[in-house]
């Protein structure tokens, strides 16, 4: 991991198309501005990880799926 120290309003350039700016610092919260092309996705890490984990769990094979669906449809 490349570690840089920036002051408020200072920026970082990544590749040709990405720019990150430290907008403000308040206590241990840092407000970060990101300029990047629209096709590059930007997510809070923990949210992306959460979705990834959920997809992995959701992709597991369900035992007796058809039976479960049939019983559920009958109930509702």
């Amino acid at each position: 991991m490349l570690v840089l120290t920036r002051k408020t309003k200072e920026s970082i350039k990544i590749g040709d198309d990405i720019e990150i700016t430290v907008l403000s610092v308040s206590g241990d919260q840092v407000k970060v501005g990101i300029n990047a092309p629209k096709n590059i996705e930007i997510h809070r890490m923990e949210i992306y990880n959460d979705i990834q984990k959920e997809n992995e769990t959701a992709s597991n094979t369900v035992n007796n799926l058809m039976e479960k669906l049939k019983n559920w449809n009958i109930q509702s």
Partner: protein
Amino acid sequence: MKIETKYHGQVEISEEDIIQFEQGVPGFEDEQQFTILPLDDEKVFYILQSTQTAPLGFIITNPFHFLKEYDFKIEENYVEQLQLENAKDAAVYVILTVAENFKDSTANLQAPVIVNLKNNKGKQIILTNTTYQTKQKLFQLTTK
């Protein structure tokens, strides 16, 4: 073309049935081609089946069937990626995590799957600034 599927054995599909997920989905970024197959006769549940990897399939459903008020904004960069011109062209699905007891199953409302019906491009989008969760109980939705 014939494909092997997770729950349907071998199935015949055509080119128009293939949905392109250019960036895959979170956790499966290399999986770029899926098709949607019905799971039940009532057409409430479907499977988002990878056409590249037979064992990969996500059980999905139309969220509005369970939560009529489900509402969110598709961020501009997603609209562009999907080349979505009209809200009517967007089909919305949510991925289910099926529990051993089916009625305890949960839906990922925070990251719905959008398919542009006009160009067959698909994407799982991640909603920001939302109260919707990744694990929303289906059963609780039906009692609303």
